[in-house]
Symmetry: C2
Subunit: 273 residues, 2 copies
C-alpha cells in the first residue's frame, strides 16, 4: 500500500524531472507511488493535471509531492495557483537566480529535445549507438580507429551494457572485445586491438559473481563453473597488467559508475568537456 | 572561447547533476565550458574542488556556476564555506522542505547506485538490455511472449535506438521487427508477431528524412532512393492502419520523446507506475 503519490509534471518528456526527483527521493526511506505526466504543454492540460493531483490528495488524505520541470510560465501558473500538493518547481528555483548572475533572461522555451533530431549532437549520439552495436562483442574490426574507447574483458564482465550506456548517455563510440581462451593461450591481446592500446579499457569481475551471472545463462556448464571463471579472470587480469591496460572491477558497480570512471580515465578527445 | 565554466560536483557519478543542470542551462543562450567532478566523497577531495573552482573563477574573471548533488553534509560544507562560485545545491534545496512535509529525516546516504548491482531493479534493467539486443531487428522470435513492447517499422525508422533506450532507461524488454517488402506483398504483419498485437507499436518516418538517413549508409542505392522510401513508408503505414496498430512518426522526435510516447500508449504491465 502506497502512502503517498509523487507526480512528475513536465512540458517535455518528464525524464529529467523523474531522474532528478528519484535521486532526491532516494534520500528518504519512503516508497511512494510514481505518476509521470509528460507533455503538459497547454493551459488545458495543466487544469487536468491540477484536478488529478487534487483528487489523489483527497483520496489518500496526504499532500501529493509534485516535481515540475515546466518552462511555460502560463502552464506553471495554473499549477501553482490550483494545486494543493507540495510543489517543487525544479526549473524556477534555479533559473531565477541564474538569470541574475548571468545578467540574461531565460527564454522559457519548451523542450530541450524539440526537433533535436536535426541537431549534430543528437545525430552523433545515434551514430554512436549504431557504432557500439556494430562493434559489440568483437563483431567487427572495421573502423576500430573511429572508436572513442574499446572495452575488453571476459564474457559477461559487463562490456555490452557499458558500451551501450557510453553511446547513449555520452555519445561515445564504444567498441567491445571479449578476451577468450585463445587470447590467454597466446598470452596476447587480440591482434586487431594492438594499434589502439591507448583507447583500451578493461573490465574485470569477481569470479564468484561471474559464475553466478554465467550460471543464469548456462547452468552446470564448464563455462559457468567457478573453477573456470577463476582461471579466466586470473588470465585476463594478468594479461591486462602485462599490457599496461587500465581496468576496474564491475562486481559491485552500476553501469553509470563504470561509465563515469572510464570517462575519467580515458578522457576521449571527442568529448567536449 | 568560453566565457564561463559550469561545474557539476557530485559524490556519485554526477550524471544526475549534469542531466538536470543541462536542462536548466538550456533555458539560456549561453555556451559555458562543462567540468564534471564525480565521486567527490571525502573532505580532502572537496578542498581540491574548492581550489579548482576558485582558480577557474580567477582566471576567467567570472564566478563559475556550481551545480552540486552532494548528500554528505561535511563535504557540502567545505564547498559552501570555501567556494567563490555561484553554488546551486540541487539536493539541499529540495531535501529540507521534503523532510518537513514528510516528517522524516533524509539519511544523507551517498550514491543511489551504491552496490546497486545486487538490486532486483538493476538486474532487471541489465536483463532488459540483453533481451532488447537479442531481439533487435527481428533476430529472434524466441520468447516474444516475454517482451513488454514490440516495435515495428521500415528499416531505419528508429526502432533500434528506441528499443535500447526503453531497456536502458525504463528496464523494458523491447523487441523490434523490421517491416520488409515480403510483408508488404503478403499484406500482413510478420506471422511471428500476430499473437502479440497488443504489445506492438509502430514507428514511421517521412520518406524524405528516411531517404537522407539511408543514403548515409548506402548512397545511390535503390534502398535509399526517395521513390523506394515513399513506397515502403506508404505500405508500412497502410499495414499498421489495417492491423489496428498504434504508431507515431519519428521524423522530428528524439528517442526520449518517442520512448515516452510509447510508454503512455502501451502502458506495459510490468512497469511499476
Amino acid at each position: 500500500m502506497h502512502s503517498r503519490t509523487v507526480f512528475f509534471v513536465s512540458d517535455g518528456t518528464g525524464i529529467t524531472a523523474e531522474t532528478f526527483g528519484n535521486a532526491i527521493l532516494a534520500q528518504f526511506e519512503f516508497k511512494p507511488r510514481h505518476v509521470r505526466l509528460p507533455f503538459i504543454d497547454t493551459v488545458d492540460k495543466a487544469h487536468q493535471v491540477v484536478r488529478q493531483i487534487n483528487h489523489t490528495g483527497e483520496v489518500e488524505g496526504k499532500k501529493p509531492i509534485v516535481f515540475t520541470t515546466l518552462v511555460d510560465m502560463e502552464v506553471l501558473k495554473v499549477i501553482q495557483d490550483g494545486c494543493k500538493g507540495m510543489l517543487l518547481d525544479m526549473f524556477g528555483t534555479f533559473v531565477h537566480p541564474l538569470e541574475e548572475e548571468l545578467g540574461i533572461k531565460s527564454h522559457h522555451r519548451v523542450g530541450r529535445f524539440s526537433d533535436v533530431s536535426r541537431s549534430k549532437e543528437y545525430n552523433d549520439r545515434i551514430e554512436a549507438i549504431n557504432f557500439s552495436l556494430a562493434h559489440d562483442d568483437g563483431q567487427s574490426n572495421r573502423d576500430l580507429a573511429g572508436a572513442d574507447v574499446i572495452l575488453v574483458g571476459v564474457s559477461r564482465s559487463g562490456k555490452t551494457p557499458t558500451s551501450l550506456y557510453l553511446a547513449m548517455q555520452f555519445g561515445l563510440k564504444a567498441a567491445n572485445y571479449p578476451l577468450i581462451p585463445e587470447d590467454f593461450e597466446r598470452k596476447q591481446l587480440p591482434p586487431a586491438l594492438v594499434p589502439y592500446q591507448k583507447k583500451i579499457f578493461g573490465l574485470t569481475i569477481s569470479p564468484e559473481r561471474l559464475a553466478e551471472i554465467r550460471s543464469e545463462r548456462r547452468p552446470n556448464s564448464k563455462y559457468a563453473s567457478l573453477l573456470n571463471c577463476r582461471a579466466e579472470v586470473a588470465e585476463a587480469e594478468a594479461m591486462m597488467r602485462r599490457s599496461g591496460i587500465r581496468w576496474l572491477s564491475t562486481t559491485t558497480k552500476s553501469i553509470e559508475e563504470i561509465a563515469t570512471t572510464i570517462l575519467q580515465e580515458v578522457r576521449p578527445e571527442r568529448l567536449m568537456y
